[in-house]
Symmetry: D2
Subunit: 425 residues, 4 copies
């Protein structure tokens, strides 16, 4: 069910996009040492080197081997080492051991990328069939997902180091809301509406099919919850009151001894946080990030509100776009054009923090996984995970859209994940 790249993406455009996206991965990792790129800081994270190699393995395995008859593997071992989870493609290297691979070196992996890229560019200069182009498009979106993971995983690694290394000073800050005066409540009428991806441009299989659903009237907060508001929650004993928490949530709080978002640390009475720009004081006006679903849910309960459901969020984002609040809710990063006079003014939907929803990640009515190994992409994770919507400050531009369904287990915190409140109308 992977959509064919839309008409406008001619071969030339796709070839150029291939070069741009692939170059971006190298750019992101330019400041990393061989050691930085090798170590795995926890089972959820992967080494940068692994991300760089695995995304290349994708193109080698699904494009070059089947479609370039003369293609010779760069290294036979890599098929085993850099397969992530595709059971159908063959044996794979144990996930928690990804950090054991001091060889191949980062330079070896860069050579692997260059080799795959030259072959891919050659392939894209031939007359390739639409389903092949669709796989290239999938590979590029897959690469963009890993670009985000490279940054979240390197932050996690650096946060383990008492020397608190700085990844780079130029790393974009999470955007603060233009206006952090009290939240405004934006109303939506609900009724029978449509969500999901129905256009001809790219989407992951789990975003389809576009389908009808029914919404009760609801309201969304005009902006995300800020660090300052989170400090109020903490000051009110938020992490200690079991009545605010889901049962699994309070158990996790206690087992992990959570007292603040991930990476937060108190120094001389002030809260600081590890970031890609190094160790920094907490910015009260920025959206809170690095919280789990459990924490988001507890905060909403504390505030007397609730988390939005996925369909509510997506519907609201689409309506906001139609109402002219965004230049584009789709592939480009939106430029919020907040107008005080419309009641659909929602800010920061895309590009600050992923927003936890109340919705478990399950299949849409009529969903069919893509055939073959790429069908393992999303469907098999439809258990035990919650949907996040929008996109974060480390999500690649062009990789955000209203129908996008990000998903993680409810206790995960190493992504740039925050929340926006909702309530029944």
């Amino acid at each position: 069910m992977i959509k064919v790249a839309r008409n406008a993406d001619t071969h030339t455009e796709l070839r150029n996009r291939y070069k741009t996206v692939r170059a971006q991965s190298l750019l992101l990792t330019a400041s990393l040492s061989d050691a930085d790129a090798t170590v795995q800081s926890m089972e959820d994270a992967s080494p940068a080197k692994w991300h760089l190699a695995h995304t290349s393995w994708f193109f080698e395995t699904f494009l070059l081997i089947p479609h370039t008859p003369s293609y010779r593997l760069f290294a036979a071992d890599f098929s085993f080492l850099f397969n992530s989870y595709y059971e159908e493609v063959g044996a794979r290297f144990s996930r928690p051991d990804r950090g054991m691979l001091t060889r191949p070196s980062l330079d070896d992996v860069r050579n692997y990328r260059a080799y795959v890229d030259s072959n891919m560019v050659a392939l894209l200069e031939t007359d390739v069939a639409p389903d092949v182009l669709a796989l290239v498009e999938l590979g590029l979106n897959h690469e963009q997902q890993h670009q985000e993971l490279i940054l979240t995983d390197i932050l996690h690694l650096f946060a383990q180091n008492p020397m608190r290394p700085t990844f780079r000073m130029s790393e974009p800050l999470s955007v603060s809301p233009d206006n952090i005066s009290p939240i405004k409540w934006v109303s939506f009428e609900g009724g029978n509406i449509e969500i999901g991806h129905g256009d001809t441009d790219f989407a992951f299989d789990c975003e389809t099919p576009k389908h009808e659903t029914f919404l009760h009237p609801f309201r969304l907060a005009s902006r995300a919850v800020t660090n300052g508001e989170w400090l109020d929650f903490m000051a009110d004993g938020g992490y200690e009151k079991p009545s605010l928490w889901l049962s699994d949530g309070i158990a996790t709080v206690r087992a992990q001894n959570w007292q603040a978002p991930l990476y937060w640390e108190q120094q001389d009475g002030e809260w600081w946080s590890m970031s890609l720009r190094g160790f920094q004081p907490i910015d009260r006006s920025a959206p809170v990030a690095h919280i789990s679903f459990y924490e988001a849910d507890a905060y909403a309960t504390w505030a007397g509100k609730r988390l939005p459901r996925e369909a509510e969020w997506e519907h609201a984002a689409t309506q906001s776009a139609i109402a002219g609040n965004f230049a584009d809710t789709g592939r480009l990063r939106p430029k919020p054009q907040v107008s005080g006079t419309t009641d659909k003014s929602l800010t920061g939907l895309f590009g600050d923090v992923w927003e936890w929803t109340a919705s478990p990640f399950v299949s849409y009515p009529g969903f069919k996984p893509a055939a073959g190994a790429v069908g393992e992409y999303n469907g098999k994770f439809m258990s035990g995970q919650m949907v996040l919507k929008g996109g974060s400050c480390v999500t690649p531009a062009g990789h955000m859209r209203a129908s996008y369904r990000n998903f993680f287990q409810p206790e995960k915190r190493w992504q740039f994940s925050g929340l926006r409140l909702a309530e029944d109308a």
Copy 2:
């Protein structure tokens, strides 16, 4: 949001129901020794003695202490020992240590029950307010839930014993479908429909409010999957093929070395199973039971079908009742009156096995937990669990209805849980 007992339940009726339900718990456990009633066979299970005491603690804590001014505690320690999870009511004894309580004895617990019962009957002879009656109703439904758990937990305990004790020979068999010829597919048109509990009689808070939702057309299998069909799945390598499984599912299969439903054991080439009637050969025509959600989902994938969504199941059960297939889908155990001529013929919805659905247990639009400690009842478990519908052969009669929402984690197998297939129309 606990519903007041309906008008027809006068005080007298409720007092009689109180006596009946409470007596049933004693009847169920009459054959257990002090030791049988004391041991906890795994963290999910509780000792029978604990179930008997905890359900009494409920009436003592929520009814007698607040509403019988002269009431004196039976034993001060019991408040601590037999609180289950109500954080607001105070400290509680560690769940995994429930099996350490060799004292109080089973006889002590029976005395506790008698003491609570005589006080409760006295209370119910006074002029009690409707909200108090509602709490009594809640306590009786709570007791019925524990009656089912007593049986599932004792089966689990006896299954650990190589001597394979028999609980009792008269234990009702899971009902075999009248007709195990190939499944028929019953069609439903979908559209905007209503689910949830809206009547005046009792329901748990999570079943409310009754609300509108939208369904795409779908079909349900006329009966549950049988043991014979499950053997076909096993023979086809069902437990070994990762492509059939959710990612968490295959990981669980491998970690737990699952090769068949819980309690199944192969002897000389034949499959047997531990049951409340002892060790018995597998009955190919009975509904498969003691499977996890992961197994149910994998079976459906193997069969080229899917699990029903909760709203589909509930809508279908309600429509079947309206079409005359059941005498009562509500509080009484239905007597299936299958007619070959209607297309809504669904058999075995209630009273054979709980049926796993594709739906995570989340709140309904407009849901508000009950105020106070009883509000911890369901809402705090709305994370990481899947809904099961219907009712099993060990569910008390009068405790099954179409809107009932049972829920367990996707890897649990010790309940009488099976599945029914669905497909898109």
Copy 3:
């Protein structure tokens, strides 16, 4: 290498001893309920019912089956259920699951004992060969070991229960030293001496052979360390100073959050302890008990002393006996006859607490395990355990002697284990 019962033990004497020892096990457990006797409170402990059955299984397996041709098993399942660890005797039931056996009941097990006993008494009325008598003697000593474990295990079980049940008020107190004025130091010259068991009466294989060894001059404390002294150690931050501890010791202290001996609990500033007589205030003059080897070693370091080596302890106990300090250091419980004028005055060696030594449990020069399954008795545990000498207040009279080698892992605390200080002379 099991010693034949000495000449004085005629058949009649052994038969009478059989009856006495076996009756003692029933006497010890007379106050237990079926539930008390069934639950296993931790993997190290076993249910009383299991102890009662396993000791009978020993006689059935090693005596009745091979030597009473007409013997019929009491119950075929019991061979599997009550084998402890004898790999050569066949499959055995998983140790951590011993608490799952609610059936057979305690009454069933008592019947099993009676059946075995009547057959054993009949066997002992025949003309049995010396090696058979030696196995009976081994079985009785084995039973006495389990008598001590019955008491330590029931104490552990009752200590898990917030109601703090009393086992029995008549349980003997650990004897307080006659004189708890400051410790006196008793000197020993060392040189080439002999330790180990060389007499004709019973000893376990690991106590043999009697053999020569060399000791440097040393001094032993005249009495064990008391609870009062232990409180001084605690008050001085003993549990918090890593420099006092072995590396594995401090790691265990931190992982288990040890702050006092096992069963100690602070209430309103005073220390209390769970005991077989129920919850009691700490007696400052009694020997400290329920400490691990790690704690004993840390205390000795704190006191500027060390633990005695096994050979030092055994040599000193033997010398004390020769010097007339004890009526009998051997099979009878000694009556200390402390004389102020001899420099070998050691009190409380037998019958208060087991005393941790500095010696790992390893084989004596020339040690050969007994042939056959009974050879699994001691030799296979000669790794990772430390020797304790003497005997405790719950060790059966007649089961203590200077050559006895008790052994447990260095972190175990549920035995009545304490310490006596030593130093280089």
Copy 4:
């Protein structure tokens, strides 16, 4: 109790030895990449970078800070990062997280070494007191211990990599015995003998004091057990027979699924092993290595023999040297000069594999740990570990002597550890 460097070690000699030993660490790690030197492959192992930094930290902390008044720390963080276990020196970085330190880089660590070295050489050019020289000597022996660990740890890391990297082709092979004809048994009379270190040259505190002990007559095998003999043990079902194993041993075999020594792998019916020279076929005539104490003990039981006790081994090694079998059993690597005519011909005692003994690592009579933080060196590990004697093919020359006491937990296998058989005479 650290011995002062002997008279012959003038300042000049010690300064030269400092340079030589320190240079050797750099030489050993010259072929490692930054990533190779950073990753920690298991909790027991440390990254090469950590070894290189920690050994420098030792000189900085114990020599430069107290004795070079003008010394300025290279980097303040390093005191925390590279402290290993010295509780008295202050907080330290969590051991299992050593592999998280991608910064400082390998080059940074080399700069740290150069900085420490230039300061140390300057210090050694001044008139330093004997106790300071003794600490330098300790630091150099400490560095030599880490040189061995660098190699064992890098082997473990590379063995996790399916690409099976080669550390270096020139790595010395474990020496095969000159004569692998059947083992000869060398007899020793025992009696009162002396073991331990009593000379004026360097030894670790745990080797002292030299002291008298008593030995029963015994025999030692003339050579270590070979890979060929180990294959016989495996072929005879050695890993499957519980009667051969200590109780903890067979439990470990089963839990870890051991079927051969560590690093062994079967390919097409032949056994291969990962080594510092890469993946190699097993050499039947080489001493078996990478076995645990449990395996060594089980092999000895299978062979009808036993492991030597530490005192037996040390006495035999000393006697062999006196008899002229070795040029030097002490600080230089021995050149075995086996003479067929003497009954003390023992080969391969030093430089092939560490030989497991039957002796737990405990203190010698009269042992006193060194004062201060360096006193944490050995004494606190005297629990739960077994002594190994001799030295392996990766032990630095000049770091082997008869009194040396190496020690590891009985389940460890990543050292070059093998065995030599013994028996009672």
